[in-house]
């Protein structure tokens, strides 16, 4: 049974803006981290944590919970912000990103941070773990679902496609894969580094049911989540998110250089101003 939170699209947009500000503050204070990919993932992460997933921050290891695997682990500031806002950890933890002993390690660490369902950080591996969780759910006849977010660049990794085959074989309709299709990877655009082709075509060819949406439209995100929730048809789901790396901060948007760089004082002030203004 899914306990959907009663939250409006407007409220979700507010949450997403708050989440982005938290992300920015974390990375600014740590002077380290990955703002670009965190911002492209931020809207879906918000919708999952504040509306869609059946979770209990007071009982992070609850066995019937929905799982979320951030396979593109470097975008963890987005996930950390959600965990802090929901009370998985004290909110002040946002001031300890990448610090010694912090639950908020440079990449997600399930041993140190409540609410992290699997440690990730080495690209291409999280989807396999999500497939394992979904298979276990089928075997144990549980109703939980598994949401996995992969990056478009991450799909360069062959292991992604090994995992995709396995998801189709075991008819994992309890698995939803989001592709954060922001078109940029560390060294350049996906077209320059490794052209992705059409993700929908690829996932469909492997036996997935696919949808493609604007990954920054809360209306479209909520609507696609409503749609896939009812699709218990033996097919794993893939939602391709057309996104913008650095979304929400004008000077970071679509800039490869903002993959893994922290803002300086002026940039931080300017970015916070833009993010605050976005929800007036």
């Amino acid at each position: 049974m899914n306990i959907l939170k009663n939250i409006s699209i407007e409220e979700l947009k507010q949450k997403a803006a708050e989440l982005r500000q938290t992300v920015l503050t974390m990375i600014y204070e740590a002077q380290s981290g990955h703002p670009g990919g965190s911002f492209s993932a931020a809207d879906v992460v918000t919708a999952l944590y504040f509306k869609e997933t059946n979770i209990d921050p007071k009982n992070p290891r609850w066995e019937d919970r929905d799982r979320f695997v951030l396979s593109k682990g470097h975008a963890c500031p987005a996930q950390y912000a959600a965990l802090a806002m929901l009370g998985y950890v004290p909110y002040e933890t946002i001031h300890k990103l990448r610090e010694y002993g912090s639950p908020f390690q440079g990449h997600p660490d399930m041993k140190k941070c409540p609410g992290i369902d699997i440690s990730t950080g080495s690209l291409g591996q999280g989807l396999s773990c999500g497939v394992g969780m979904a298979i276990a759910g089928k075997i144990d006849e549980k109703n939980y679902r598994v949401f996995v977010m992969v990056g478009d660049g991450e799909c360069n990794e062959g292991q992604i496609w090994e995992a995709v085959q396995t998801a189709a074989k075991y008819k994992l309709d309890n698995l939803v894969v989001f592709v954060d299709n922001n078109g940029l990877q560390l060294d350049g655009t996906t077209d320059e580094i490794m052209p992705t082709q059409d993700f929908e075509d690829k996932f469909r060819a492997f036996g997935f049911e696919t949808q493609r949406i604007d990954g920054h439209s809360m209306e479209q995100i909520v609507s696609v989540l409503d749609f896939v929730r009812g699709q218990k048809n033996g097919k794993p789901k893939c939602i391709v998110l057309d996104t913008v790396k650095g979304k929400g901060v004008s000077f970071m948007e679509n800039k490869c250089n903002w993959h893994g760089v922290a803002p300086n004082d002026e940039e931080y002030e300017q970015a916070m101003k833009e993010l605050r203004a976005s929800v007036q």
Binding site: D109, M110, S128, C129, V131, A136, I139, E162, Q165
Partner: protein, 314 residues
């Protein structure tokens, strides 16, 4: 402690895994086998037949297999990944590190075709670096039983302890050394002989050679201490230190002499600051298709070489 004669029956230790895992699976429904399309060869067919709901096969995709096992383990399952040593260590090495050992998940990696035992298959299939590679990853336990019965007991123990365990088996048949009811503890050496002149520390399929060498040495009046060091990590340091008191140690293994049992023993001996060690094992070279005994001989993993080294140390 009874040590049987080497003319006893021979069984491949992969069969020990195949038999014990069925028993374990029936006792605990959380025990699963994750095959990588070599189930027939790794002796998991019976498990699949009898416990189909606890079995999955991810096809020829080791890296994914390691990740799927990790995901299963987060839900309380105890997956045994079943493959060959060369793939179950190197092909999925980074996945083992990132998704199994780093989060310290309860995944077991059960590998047939350890060392030179897939002799006919050639160098590509002889896993000679596996135990050494995995020994360097935190949280990992590394085990190889010497015969069918000890393998069964060690597989059972691996299922009972929490955390990642690498289990290595022989492809080919090796002599049965132990009685069916002999007990084994992971991390604790099995002392087969007490002695005071020279210590031989062996593991896996070389234990039977070490027993033969020790018997011959004893006939010549040499007192031999003999250990079956089935677990190279965590190493039974006290057992090694007891050998340091003797001062003359020979290690024997079907593994590269770099970073396997011999290296692990040397680390303890060097830190103790006394004692001499001779390492017998694969001489940092790849194998080829050949009879198993021929491959052992090419690397000096023979009864005669153990005896010769013992005499040189005395």
């Amino acid at each position: 402690m009874s040590v049987k004669k080497d003319d006893m029956k021979k069984i491949a230790t992969r069969q020990g895994f195949g038999d014990e895992i069925v028993k374990l699976g029936k006792e605990n429904k959380n025990i699963m086998v994750l095959d990588i399309d070599i189930g027939k060869s790794c002796k998991t067919t019976e498990f699949q037949k009898q416990l189909p709901k606890q079995h999955i096969n991810v096809g020829i995709a080791e890296q994914n297999g390691a990740g799927v096992a990790a995901g299963l383990a987060t839900t309380g399952k105890i997956p045994f990944i079943s493959t060959y040593a060369v793939f179950g260590s190197l092909r999925m090495a980074e996945q083992i590190r990132q998704e199994i050992c780093y989060p310290n998940l309860n995944v077991k990696i059960a590998c047939s075709h350890g060392g030179l035992t897939p002799a006919n298959d050639g160098g590509s299939h002889q896993g000679i670096e596996d135990m050494g590679v995995l020994r360097t990853i935190p949280n990992m336990t590394v085990v190889m039983g010497a015969d069918y019965y000890s393998t069964r007991k060690l597989v059972r123990q691996a299922a009972e302890i929490y955390g990642p365990v690498y289990l290595r088996f022989t492809r080919d048949a090796v002599p049965v050394i132990y009685d069916e009811d002999e007990e084994f503890v992971i991390g604790k050496a099995k002392e087969l002989k007490q002695g005071k002149d020279v210590a031989i520390i062996a593991n896996g399929d070389t234990v039977c050679l070490a027993i033969e060498a020790a018997n011959q040495l004893e006939e010549e009046g040499v007192s031999v201490k003999l250990l079956d060091m089935h677990t190279i990590k965590p190493l039974d340091k006290q057992a090694v230190l007891d050998c340091v008191d003797i001062g003359r140690i020979i290690t024997v293994e079907d593994h590269n002499v770099i970073n396997g049992l011999g290296s692990a023993v040397c680390e303890v001996v060097a830190e103790a600051g006394k004692g001499k060690v001779r390492r017998i094992g694969i001489q940092d070279q790849f194998g080829q298709s050949a009879p198993y005994e021929k491959l052992l001989e090419l690397n000096g993993i023979t009864v005669e070489n153990i005896i010769m080294n013992a005499k040189q140390l005395l």
